[in-house]
Amino acid sequence: MLQSLSGIELNQKAIIDSMNQEKLKSDYILELLDFGFLPGTEISVLQKYPSQNKIVVQIGRAQLSLRLNDASNIQVRLNGN
């Protein structure tokens, strides 16, 4: 089942599927790739901060933070579905 990264529950594991090439700037997508946002990679949401427009995610051992509205343009697949 495809879902946006901003929409999944805390500590739920998901697999990165794709990034919306129209909504996200190409420079930003390059940076996301560098930081390990590769399709097929496992990701989990550690914390969401709606009042700050932030989400903290974990890829491997790295903890990364991005804006919630950008996270909504990253599609993930939930494990086991």
Partner: protein, 694 residues
């Protein structure tokens, strides 16, 4: 001893690369000058086996594709490397997958590599092990596991660096999918080249660029081939119908990397709740996090000003004593003035900022090393977003409150070009420490020691208002620039939250030392030259028979004074006379020069707190109008002028250095000076019309 090959230190940011570099080279470090490279790069010497090997610490990165200035410098350096150069790749064991992605890119260059894996201690603590021998076999290069913090295994690393055979040129380990790989290999055999490794690297970039990928400008591509080959490649690609995307390349590499990791790693690095996550619950909390942040900032600022007070006084006193000594011992005349007022005064005006700059870099260093700095970007991102910037612009803007020069230097880490340029352009509007002497003198002389609302001192209130004015104007202009010049480039935010660490004293002191040195070299020389020029303008022309007279009696006839009188008509609508005019001209070199210039003009000794100077300002009468030269309105007009005008040679020099263009420093100077003139004009004219001018 003979000097042999150079080693280029490459790796992820935060991978312990700097610690390894510090361990290897220690105090032999210096900032190197390399042709075509503008960003300061540290180099050092490793002595091993009767050989001196130069190690160059290149900026940390995650790929050769990112667009910040630091990272372009990295690519530029790697592209211009010498034939004999070796690469030492520093890899963070905790971030194997991502680090290996970058290593694969570097391996594509076809240079000899030695791999250094850091974080040995953490691996052991987490009960994880990497089978080094197996990894060597998989990658085809020499590997050593070290601990950068304690120096464990660093002597062994030195040994390896000393042996040329430890650096091996690896084979390409990954491949595209079958169709693309076949196409790629066919092209490779059809194009002639001396260095097939390099050809393969350039060809891969070319194919990606032709497929519509926006790669970093520094990466060599199609332009490397002659026109026949260019046509050939273009024709072949379009008839094949294939597309080469960076994203796909990364994914293909990732397949290989995952399979390597599964073979060499035992134990599970992931899925362990770290202590950092617990601390982040508090540090990043929407309420407690922000309160903590403001408490820390208040402490930093308080310390920045109070801890630097004593050393700054010592430096000032030392230079005063030196100037007095030379004034007395040297015969009167131009040499005396040049040395005491020009050179000693000029050097002193630069060195006096060292305590503040050192403290600023100490605090930033602590915040960065501990991992707090990225949390600050996180916390401030939403607020900065309102002005079109991201949280990464916050620290440079904050640093501007001490000095815009290091602040502008620190924008190197901002990836987004429009965010970086905007930050550079508005940083000089923030109230920096050079403005305080001017503010303190003018406020102290003109504003009474009353209280506002019963509790605040009027003088402190004016000072605070000026600080807020600078901050607000900077943010408003940030929004303005973002909405005009950089309309199509929205800001974005992605930051790593590294695990919290205790800062290393060695790294901190080296970083403070290097930044202070850079400041002295960059801005110090300019300020010294300008001080000598200003002294010349204020001293000459001089009648030699008046040898006994002191310089102060002549300033009203000097070149500076005639310059002041020439521009007086332009400044009069702002409420300034020729004396303030001379002060403004001289303060275009550096703001704080206004104080010493006024002291020379009024013929008194003293600094911004001196009562003599204040009394002279208060009692100065304009001979034409018979009224006081300085009233409250003049003072406000002058304060606003100093808040906005671009009066700092060092800032312009550093903007030139960081943007590598003359356009931006000129633009900065013009827009700030117009802003200053128009604002002062409006304040003075509206104020006079309302009857405040008497």
């Amino acid at each position: 001893m003979e000097t042999s090959y150079r080693c280029l230190l490459v790796g992820n940011a935060n991978a312990g690369k700097t610690s390894v570099f510090n361990r290897l080279t220690g105090l032999s470090q210096k900032t190197g000058n390399f042709p075509g490279i503008t960003v300061g790069i540290a180099t050092g010497i490793v002595e091993v086996n009767e050989k001196e090997i130069e190690v160059i610490d290149l900026p940390g990165s995650f790929s050769l594709n990112a667009n910040s200035e630091d990272k372009k410098t990295l690519t530029r350096f790697l592209m211009r490397r010498k034939e004999t150069d070796k690469i030492i790749f520093v890899l963070d064991a905790m971030l194997l997958e991502r680090s290996l992605q970058f290593l694969f890119q570097i391996m594509d260059l076809g240079a000899p590599i030695l791999l250094v894996i850091t974080m040995k201690d953490i691996l052991e603590k987490k009960n994880v092990s990497i089978q080094i021998d197996k990894l060597k076999e998989e990658l085809g290069i020499e590997i050593i596991l070290v601990n950068g913090k304690t120096g464990e295994k660093v002597p062994e690393l030195k040994e390896l660096i000393g042996r040329e055979s430890s650096f091996k040129i690896p084979n390409r380990l990954w491949s595209w999918d079958e169709k693309r790989e076949k196409f790629f290999q066919t092209l490779l055999t059809k194009i002639e080249a001396d260095n097939k490794h390099y050809l393969s690297f350039v060809l891969a970039n070319t194919l990606k660029k032709l497929s519509g990928e926006k790669l970093q400008k520094e990466l060599p591509g199609l332009e490397e081939f002659n026109s026949t080959t260019q046509e050939f490649i273009q024709k072949e690609l379009s008839s094949s119908g294939l597309v080469f995307k960076y994203q796909e390349e990364v994914i293909h590499k990732s397949f290989k990397i995952k399979s390597i990791i599964s073979k060499v790693l035992t134990g599970n690095i992931e899925n362990q709740k770290s202590k950092s996550a617990q601390l982040d619950k508090f540090i990043l909390h929407p309420i407690f996090g922000i309160i903590t942040f403001f408490v820390i900032m208040a402490f930093v600022f308080q310390s920045l000003f109070s801890w630097s007070e004593l050393p700054m006084e010592w430096i000032e006193k030392t230079f005063e004593v030196m100037a007095q000594y030379f004034e007395k011992t040297l015969p009167l005349g131009p040499v005396n003035g040049l040395i005491t007022k020009g050179i000693i005064g000029g050097v002193g005006s630069v060195l006096v900022f060292i305590p503040q700059i050192a403290l600023l870099f100490l605090f930033i260093g602590i915040m960065e090393e501990s991992g707090y700095l990225s949390r600050v970007s996180f916390i401030m991102d939403k607020f900065m977003g309102k002005f079109g910037l991201s949280g990464k612009s916050f620290i440079p803007l904050l640093s501007s409150a001490a000095c815009a020069v290091p602040a502008i230097m620190s924008t190197r880490t901002i990836e987004n070009r429009s965010d970086k340029m905007t930050t550079i352009l508005v940083s000089p509007l923030i109230t920096c420490s050079a403005r305080y002497p001017v503010y303190i003198l003018v406020i102290g002389a003109i504003f009474p020691k009353d209280t506002v609302l019963g509790i605040f001192s009027l003088q402190a209130f004016v000072l605070f208002s000026l600080f807020m004015l600078g901050m607000a104007t900077a943010l408003i202009f940030a929004l303005l620039f973002k909405k005009t010049f950089f309309k199509h480039e929205s800001s974005y935010f992605l930051i790593e939250l590294p695990s919290y660490k205790i800062p290393s004293l060695k790294n901190l002191s080296l970083s403070v030392y290097q930044n202070v040195k850079a400041f002295i070299v960059n801005s110090g020389t300019i300020i010294l030259y300008v001080s000598i020029l200003l002294w010349f303008l204020a001293y000459y022309p001089v009648q030699m028979q008046d040898g006994e007279k002191e310089a102060k009696s002549e300033i009203s006839n000097s070149y500076a004074a005639s310059l002041g009188k020439t521009i007086e008509p332009v400044l009069r609508p702002l409420g300034f006379d020729w004396k303030i005019g001379v002060g403004i001209i001289s303060s275009f070199a550096a703001r704080e020069v206004l104080v010493s210039t006024l002291a020379i003009i009024y013929g008194v000794e003293g600094d911004e707190t001196s009562d003599d100077l204040k009394t002279s300002i208060q009692s100065d009468i304009n001979p034409e109008t018979g009224k006081k030269t300085w009233n409250t309105l003049t003072a406000i007009s002058l304060l606003i002028f100093f808040a906005y005008a671009s009066q700092c040679m060092s800032t312009l020099a550093v903007v030139r250095q960081e943007t590598k263009s003359y356009l931006w420093p000129v633009f900065l100077f013009v827009y700030m000076t117009i802003l200053a003139y128009v604002s002062s004009l409006a304040v003075y004219q509206i104020g006079t019309a309302l009857g405040f001018g008497s």
